[in-house]
Symmetry: C2
Subunit: 185 residues, 2 copies
């Protein structure tokens, strides 16, 4: 199961047989749903459009493409894997920042359940599967706010490593997600 954590296993045999693209314009592997269609919530918008055979959005003109007005609201595209990831980490770390310092047993049970359900409903299916594997190997720490905040920070760093992004110093998680930075820092 741990093989699913590498990006090279995200395409299925069916895809290569069908001559579907394996690498996207971003350089990432294209991820397909189990039915063989490109997965919208697992790829960047650019790669998704490329895999769908559509004219890709040119990165330096996103505003024209994304923000056309339609009867009062913007005609935004569904979020891609990056926007979805950023949004979800924002919510989860903020939940950590407001989780009680001394939670009750019920609050701890609820938080575990919430995180488990989150991993099941996460819209990028392979990301959710990776998260489930992480949870299995690293039990969710719910005893207090700081422990949960650090557990989540470590989980986020695992993803950062996979995406070749810098890892965060988890000792500083409260500055980033709860209290803010001191002015002199």
């Amino acid at each position: 199961m741990s093989n699913t954590t590498t990006t090279t296993t995200k395409t299925t045999d069916k895809d290569s047989n069908d001559n579907k693209p394996v690498i996207g314009l971003s350089g990432r592997n294209i991820v397909y749903d189990k039915d063989g269609k490109p997965c919208r919530t697992c790829n960047t918008l650019l790669d998704f459009q490329f895999a769908m055979g559509k004219k890709p959005v040119i990165p330096h003109e996103p505003k024209e493409v994304k923000k056309e007005k339609l009867s009062g609201y913007t005609k935004d595209y569904p979020p891609d894997v990056s926007e979805l990831g950023k949004s979800s980490w924002t919510l989860l770390h903020s939940i950590a920042a407001t989780y009680p310092e001394n939670p009750t047993d019920q609050q701890q049970k609820d938080l575990k359940q919430f995180i488990n359900l989150f991993s099941g409903f996460y819209p990028c299916w392979y990301c959710g599967e990776d998260f489930k594997i992480y949870i299995k190997k690293n039990e969710i720490e719910t005893k207090n706010q700081d422990l949960f905040g650090k557990w989540l920070c470590n989980a986020h760093n695992e993803v950062n490593k996979k995406l070749n992004k810098p890892v965060f110093n988890c000792e500083l998680w409260k500055k980033r997600w709860k209290d803010g930075w001191d002015e002199e820092e």
Copy 2:
């Protein structure tokens, strides 16, 4: 209980007695936590800093203030109420977009539980309370993807109305959150 949905009840008696600001620089009411401190996840960053008596971030120079580098990662501020809202709707609508067309009883039960837990853990406490009231009055529709997507779209519109934002035509929720817009639209 429905009174808690108006912004004027978001300050406590204690706040006005202590001479704490009631209106923020954004024009919104300042929201305080139950212990009387300004609530970081319930206010805009500008209003939170104002209520804390700190030099406010000047809107046209956010990059200098928010994006200083610190040992490899950016020194971002904790998300304010707007960023948190946008992020959370992005996650929830994407969950609707990938929720099964024909969910099992267990999936329906799990989704209800997830949404209920979400309302309890939501980092902006008064937003979470408003959402709980909405859920009580409007039972979560989990029978299929389209019903859940529309239920969520209506819930989002309730918040849009409170914030004087345009409401979205829920018949189009799949274009915004699942399939994207046709090129000729």
